[in-house]
């Protein structure tokens, strides 16, 4: 049989398609939509007429398959890409269940041995993501610190976060072993720009209870560095632009509950939109302080803008409407935590040696203030 091999190069945006054309055999065609370099479907054009094609093809799944191509791996050692088949005339169309991906090569194989390789653009995006900041932002953190929040500039990729995070004790240049609570389901926010990192509560010094086996993650008086590696990939699969280091010293543990009576409230002037300012007297959990503190007039929560300073020691509220000359309430949910996880009125403890009680009620505490009248003439 006379065979002619044709290699045709068809450049399409960033895509490159190669087909082996055997005379008398079927033809494979990658389809691209809207000038996208990633194919949306694959078509098989049998070289026989429709009637013969139907007889030959039989089960459409056997007519045509697509395989992922990976360096060093025989593509046919893996199952074919899952998808659906339909027939239009004698043409067989394959559409993958999940869209074909960027930066992956695919090999199409027809029933008669004809193959077509889709070679994708391997151009890597330049690194753009980085750690924006880590909370708490203070330079001195309590020995029984409960968590860090790592904020990123862009959506990140997950699944192996703990590999990219290291806590180093600086004096001995020692890496602290397993300081964090490692969960299969990581603790991200919705768009994966913030990761919550809990210090393993089993590694937090408890005061009276000694720790077994390995010591605490943090010890008073020592200096540490939290390092986030730039190898951590963003949501698009690109490494970060650079790594991030946070240095801090560990101070004494904080075992006191949050006490509202220690807060100072600077009452704003009535009939103005002067900010209401609350000083906590200590750093509080940056995320919870946004959810747990609100300002009410009567039963009505006021509309306005909240801002919190970087040390999370100060809460500022600018109302949408001017203050009226009545008593207002600051409502604080007792869920609020300080840096060591102490709540309002209750210190943090993982195991509470107390009679077990039902704790299904939600609770809050309140402070009151009345805007002041400006008496200056």
């Amino acid at each position: 049989m006379d065979t002619t091999f044709l290699t045709s190069l068809a450049g399409l945006a960033a895509g490159l398609v190669m087909t082996l054309q055997v005379q008398g055999a079927s033809r494979l065609e990658w389809i691209f939509q809207d000038s996208s370099p990633i194919p949306s479907e694959l078509r098989l054009h049998p070289e026989t007429d429709e009637h013969e094609a139907n007889a030959t093809l039989g089960n459409l799944e056997n007519a045509l398959q697509v395989y992922v191509v990976e360096e060093g791996v025989d593509p046919l050692s893996n199952p074919p890409v899952d998808g659906s088949y339909l027939q239009s005339g004698k043409v067989v169309i394959f559409r993958p269940t999940y869209p074909f991906a960027d930066r992956i090569d695919y090999l199409a194989v027809a029933f008669d041995g004809v193959q077509a390789l889709h070679r994708s653009s391997k151009q890597q995006n330049s690194p753009v993501a980085c750690v924006d900041h880590i909370q708490p932002e203070g330079e001195i953190l309590p020995e029984n610190l409960l968590k860090f929040y790592i904020h990123f500039s862009h959506s990140m990729g997950g699944g192996d976060v703990y590999r990219h995070i290291q806590l180093i004790e600086l004096a001995k240049k020692k890496v602290v072993q397993w300081p964090f609570l490692e969960l299969g389901e990581e603790l991200w926010n919705q768009d994966m720009t913030r990761l919550t990192l809990f210090i393993d509560p089993g590694r937090i010094k408890r005061g009276v209870k000694p720790l077994e086996e390995i010591g605490p993650s943090l010890e008073e008086g020592k200096d540490y560095e939290l390092i986030i590696s730039n190898q951590w990939k963003d949501a698009k699969g690109t490494s970060m632009a650079h790594s991030f280091r946070k240095s801090f010293r560990v101070g004494p543990p904080d075992r006191s509950p949050i006490a509202l009576k220690r807060w100072t409230v600077a009452s704003p002037r009535a009939e103005t939109r002067q900010p209401l300012v609350i000083h906590f007297g200590e750093s509080l959990d940056a995320a919870l302080v946004q959810r747990c503190v609100s300002c009410l007039r009567g039963n009505q929560e006021l509309e306005g803008e909240i801002s919190i300073n970087s040390q999370t020691t100060r809460w500022t509220f600018i109302p949408s409407k001017p203050w009226s000359l009545v008593e207002h309430t600051i409502k604080v949910h007792t869920l609020l935590e300080d840096l060591a996880g102490n709540n309002v009125g209750k210190p943090f403890e993982v195991d509470t040696f107390a009679p077990v009680q039902r704790r299904l009620e939600s609770s809050h505490e309140t402070l009151h203030f009345t805007p002041v009248l400006d008496k200056t003439p």
Binding site: P79, T97, A101, I104, D191, E212, A235, D285, V350
Partner: protein, 372 residues
């Protein structure tokens, strides 16, 4: 003759109705269509081939009637090399682009199910795949399948928080483990802001919210004290015919709860049966019987695979005070040295476990092994 036949067929029909009624009972409330799933995490099987999938992104549990109900016995060992690569190929990507989240064996068919995410960013797509004992892998079509969904309400402590003003970062919870127990799905979760871990029971079949569905919230307690430590994994098991629950917490001990104590709204008071030290990082737990003894097999990311004889749990003394000195107290355990790099562990049948093993940062292999 005709008469006899009639009677026989009637009893056959009645028997058939009885069987299908029982099956139908579990599928109450299910509808055919696309599962509204946004993420696929922990998976566990219920009765009749019903697969439960934890969806942290939606704060929901989905029950999917897989239709995979034919009983099968294993005739040969299972070994699938580079399973992660094979599952990735099914969804059109390479193994770096997927994350295998959990594994569960259908006790009827012995087929092995995996939850995974295609992609690692916020737009990652949830996928459920099934591997037959022959090694053949395929996807579960989530677009046209019988299913029902239960949404997890916020724990009561959160009901008031964030009222009125829209929060930019709504409270999210990660579901760490789920299991089916008699008539409910148990769900262990951990919040991503406050240090609050929850253990809830959702009656199954799922009832619509608002029609009196009570989601029971349990507080883990051992002996005199209550722990806020998150439950990492739990498994139901029988002691002398009585149903119990074993729960592994993240930094405190292994606790056993009698099922009778799991009452709506109540504390489940458990007995601490093993203190495994503060390097305890449990991944999976299974309970099995061998030569008339009961054992607990725990995959632990820092201690390898531990085999703990559970026969004497009922009589084991409760550990109530802080453990000093020794690495573990209570029950003895044995480390299974040959079982290294275990990523996922589940029971395959009465005599075998199924493991997903990673060799030296390489690909993941799926294999069955006799229970130790």
């Amino acid at each position: 003759m005709k008469h006899l036949l009639k009677r026989t067929s009637l009893s056959a029909v009645l028997a058939l109705i009885a069987i299908s009624a029982q099956g139908a009972q579990w599928k109450q409330g299910m509808a055919e269509g696309t599962v509204p799933i946004k993420s696929a995490g922990s998976v566990a099987f219920g009765p009749d081939g019903i697969l439960f999938v934890a969806d942290s992104k939606s704060a929901a549990i989905h029950a999917i009637a897989t239709g995979d109900v034919t009983s099968q016995e294993l005739s040969q060992p299972i070994r699938v090399a580079s399973l992660d690569r094979k599952l990735a190929a099914l969804v059109g990507v390479t193994s770096e682009e997927i994350l295998i989240q959990d594994m569960a064996v259908n006790p009827l068919s012995k087929n092995i199910y995996f939850s995974l995410s295609r992609g690692r960013g916020p737009d990652a797509v949830p996928v459920i795949a099934r591997v037959h004992s022959s090694g053949k892998a395929e996807l579960l079509d989530l677009r046209q399948v019988q299913h029902s969904t239960a949404t997890l309400p916020d724990a009561p402590a959160d009901a008031e928080v964030g009222e009125g003003r829209r929060r930019s970062n709504p409270r999210m919870e990660s579901i760490t483990d789920i299991a089916f127990l008699e008539d409910r799905v148990l769900v262990a979760g951990l919040a991503n802001e406050e240090f609050a871990s929850t253990l809830r029971g959702i009656p199954f079949p799922f009832r619509e919210v608002g029609k009196g569905t009570k989601v029971e919230i349990y507080h883990g307690a051992h002996g005199r004290f209550e722990t806020r430590s998150p439950v990492r994994t739990f498994v139901p098991f029988q002691i002398g015919g009585e149903p119990h629950l074993l729960a592994a917490y993240t930094c405190t001990p292994l606790v056993q709860f009698p099922i009778q104590s799991i009452q709506p709204g109540a504390q489940i008071v458990g007995k601490t049966i093993a203190e495994l030290g503060n390097r305890n990082r449990p991944l999976d737990m299974v309970v099995y019987n061998k030569e008339e003894r009961t054992y607990l097999l725990m995959a632990n990311s820092s201690r390898g695979i531990m085999k703990i004889p559970a026969n004497d749990i009922a009589s084991a003394s409760s550990i109530e005070s802080a453990v000093r000195g020794g690495a573990s107290e209570g029950l003895d355990y044995e480390t299974i040295e040959q079982w290294q790099g275990v990523d996922q562990l589940d029971l395959l049948d009465e005599r075998h476990a199924i493991l997903l093993v990673r060799a030296d940062n390489g690909p993941l292999h799926l294999e069955s092994r006799p229970l130790p």
